[in-house]
């Protein structure tokens, strides 16, 4: 038995590999979207799939997102497992009615008889110097839509695991792909990919005792960096990577907050009406008497995503996170 060493791989590679493995394992898995075939997608996540599995399994669709998702619904009704790529976050909006009124509701309105095993891949978030409509963080919309799973990886192995789990799920899953991290590398063995994660489990990325940073996707590396920097200030921060926004892993999150007594929620999406409100509220409901300070939020400003030359001011960075940690009423300690 030869042992293959783990090598650095990018998140993009892991996603491609997940699609390939899923398609090889199950002939009912079909990839579809704009430019996913011949081109391999604008981010090359579907690279090589049309060649390997044929254009009927990896299909360049006409340019119409509602049509893409709507036909994928029909394919799922017939027992296929479509994996839809939305080219960018903001270009998923035309499919919103199909998503909310059908994808999210079909299982429920048919009392379980017509489940829709659909995966919807959406590259999201900013920090890539993109022009307008190419950097939205739209997770609040999906979180507020019961019937959808909403997950987002922050690491290379999770990208593989969550995508496999999404495709394997009998429910529709919105997989938010942190596009800024597509080219981030991790040590990962593509020959022995990590086990498929069950959807809905958060993970403690870094243990600490002073306070908990609750975060996901794009903001996980930023929080890890902030936790490192915080050591200089004498704070030992715990970082919880949610991985799944729906369902929400109350257990892992609350266990951490009960331990540390303080928490900051960090995400790139706009603050007002964003995921952080839900997270802060439910943590507070569940851990009120363990809290030394209110759960604070560090998020994007409440603006349309700004032009690239100004985006660094918008994005939650290490300083802003440390600033929030500093406002966690440490005076009370002494």
């Amino acid at each position: 038995m030869t042992t293959v060493a783990a090598k650095p791989a990018t998140m993009a590679q892991a996603l491609t590999r997940a699609l390939r493995d899923a398609m090889a394992a199950d002939p009912s898995v079909h990839v579809m979207g704009e430019d996913v075939g011949t081109l391999g997608g604008v981010f090359r996540i579907t690279d090589g799939l049309a060649e390997e599995f044929g254009e009927d399994r990896c299909t360049d669709t006409p340019l119409a997102e509602a049509g893409i998702l709507g036909t994928a619904v029909g394919m799922a009704m017939y027992g296929l497992r479509p994996v839809v790529e939305m080219q960018f976050d903001a270009f998923a909006y035309p499919a919103f009615e199909q998503l909310v009124s059908h994808v999210a509701k079909m299982r429920n309105r048919t009392r379980g008889r017509m489940p829709l095993p659909l995966t919807i891949r959406i590259p999201y978030g900013g920090g890539i110097g993109g022009v307008e409509h190419h950097s939205d963080s739209s997770e609040a919309y999906y979180m507020a839509t019961p019937g959808l799973h909403v997950v987002t990886p922050a690491t290379v192995p999770d990208a593989y695991g969550l995508l496999r789990a999404a495709i394997a799920s009998d429910d529709p899953v919105v997989l938010l792909e942190p596009k800024r991290l597509y080219w981030s590398k991790d040590s990962w063995n593509p020959e022995r990919p990590s086990a498929v994660e069950p959807l809905g489990r958060a993970v403690v990325r870094r243990s600490g005792r002073s306070a908990t940073l609750i975060t996901y996707g794009l903001s996980v590396p930023v929080c890890m960096e902030a936790a490192e920097a915080a050591r200089a200030e004498g704070w030992d921060l715990e970082v919880v990577d949610l991985r799944s926004l729906v369902p929400f892993d109350d257990e892992t999150v609350c266990a951490s907050v009960r331990r540390t007594g303080r928490a900051v929620v960090v995400h790139e999406s706009g603050g007002f009406g964003g995921p952080g409100g839900e997270i802060a509220a439910r943590v507070t409901e569940r851990c009120f008497h363990h809290l030394e300070a209110p759960v604070l939020r560090v998020a994007g400003f409440d603006l349309p995503y700004p032009p690239p030359m100004l985006e660094r001011h918008h994005l939650p960075g290490v300083d802003r996170i440390l600033d929030a940690v500093g406002r966690l009423q440490w005076e009370a300690e002494s």
Partner: protein, 388 residues
């Protein structure tokens, strides 16, 4: 693969050698809606089919009347009647093979029933019970679609999937004249044509989208003319002529089954009743118009023809009507029973497995209901109870 190797006839050579990808001429609908009844073509129509259509039309008319009556008795929350459109509804159902799929819009409960779905299950949504009473897979009928035109891409996807699997399945998708204005109509037809999916798009042009007449909905020569813009054939048919609708749909289904791709069929018909029982049609149209259309009634038209050809006698008419009455009586009786609903079902089908959040909420509701029941039991135990 470069564009030159693509299927289809697109040529990247510069315009001097430009060629249309398909010849538009055969895609254009006839100048007049296709008719059979009352024309020379009637004699060629299969008597058995005509008789079957007739029986279904009569039953359909009765079904519409019964369902409307149920709204007055509070047994249906709302009912969009297809009175006057029975020929379309019935033909759409009868034209399909068992393995085919029907994609109805919210008005098409009659087509669903004619396909074999239990009328009570068909009306489950409209009585305010669970959303889709029937199992879509039992008779291969998609759930009634309320968001207009959104069912059309579903039909395309399903037909496409079946074709990829090598199955002999055609999908027939129904939509109203108003629904053709939605973006989903456009996208569905385009996908179907590009994929050559075995779909038939069936537009019932009944003159109105609630209060909005066709003239405010489109300026097209006909809705069937939209077909040419997708590269599929368009057909125009008299929607009150059951034989004609059946023939045109059958042609389209055959064409799809043979791998010829989709067809757009427009049936010219009329919504004789108000939009639903909640609508007041006198606000936007006059009786005179309705009367003109009643003079072109689908049931009467077919009855006339059958009588002319000696295919229908009084006994047969009586038998058909008796069948319809039996169906109506059964429907009435069963709809008069309150459905048994379990509030706990609210949490059962949101996901394959309820999330921990839903489990918490289920427990909350369970506790509330238990407390309620206790209160009631207490209250029910007479003046000595815990009534407050």
């Amino acid at each position: 693969m470069t564009v030159m190797e693509q299927r289809g006839a697109y040529r990247p050579t510069p315009p001097p050698a430009w060629q249309p990808r398909t010849d538009p001429a055969p895609l254009l609908p006839d100048a007049e809606p296709y008719r059979v009844l009352g024309t020379g073509r009637a004699d060629a129509a299969d008597p058995e089919l005509l008789r079957r259509l007739y029986a279904e039309l009569v039953k359909g008319r009765r079904y519409n009347a019964q369902a409307t009556a149920l709204t007055k008795q509070g047994r249906l929350a709302v009912y969009p009647s297809s009175t006057g459109q029975e020929a379309c509804e019935v033909a759409a159902a009868l034209v399909l093979e068992e393995q085919d799929w029907l994609f109805p819009s919210y008005r098409d409960t009659l087509a669903v029933v004619a396909r074999g779905v239990d009328p009570v299950e068909t009306l489950t949504l409209l009585r305010g019970d669970w959303h889709t009473g029937y199992d879509p897979y039992e008779h291969r009928v998609a759930p009634l679609s309320t968001p207009l035109a959104t069912q059309l891409p579903h039909a395309v996807g399903l037909a496409h999937a079946a074709r990829l699997k090598g199955d002999d399945v055609v999908a027939l998708a129904m939509v109203g004249d108003g629904g053709t204005s939605e973006g989903d109509f456009h996208e569905a037809l385009n996908f179907a044509a590009v994929w050559r999916a075995p779909v038939v798009f069936f537009v019932q042009n009944n003159g109105f989208a609630i209060s909005v007449p066709l003239a405010k909905q489109t300026a097209a020569p006909s809705l069937a003319h939209k077909a040419v813009g997708y590269g599929m054939p368009g057909r125009l048919v008299d929607g009150n002529d059951a034989a004609a609708v059946h023939e045109v749909l059958a042609d389209a289904v055959r064409h799809a089954r043979a791998g010829g791709g989709p067809t757009l069929v427009e049936a010219i018909t009329y919504r004789v009743e108000a939009h639903t029982n909640a609508d007041d049609a006198t606000r936007y149209r006059g009786d005179a118009e309705v009367e003109i259309w009643k003079g072109h009634d689908p049931v009467a038209l077919l009855e006339q023809e059958l009588t002319r050809r000696g295919l229908l006698d009084d006994d047969r008419i009586a038998a058909v009507r008796q069948d319809a009455e039996t169906m109506a009586a059964d429907l009435r009786a069963r709809m008069n029973q309150d459905p048994a609903l379990d509030p706990m079902d609210l949490f059962a089908h949101v996901y394959a497995e309820p999330t921990s959040q839903l489990l918490e909420q289920r427990e909350q509701l369970r506790a509330e209901l238990a407390a309620e029941a206790e209160d009631e039991a207490g209250a029910g135990s007479g003046p000595g109870g815990t009534q407050r």
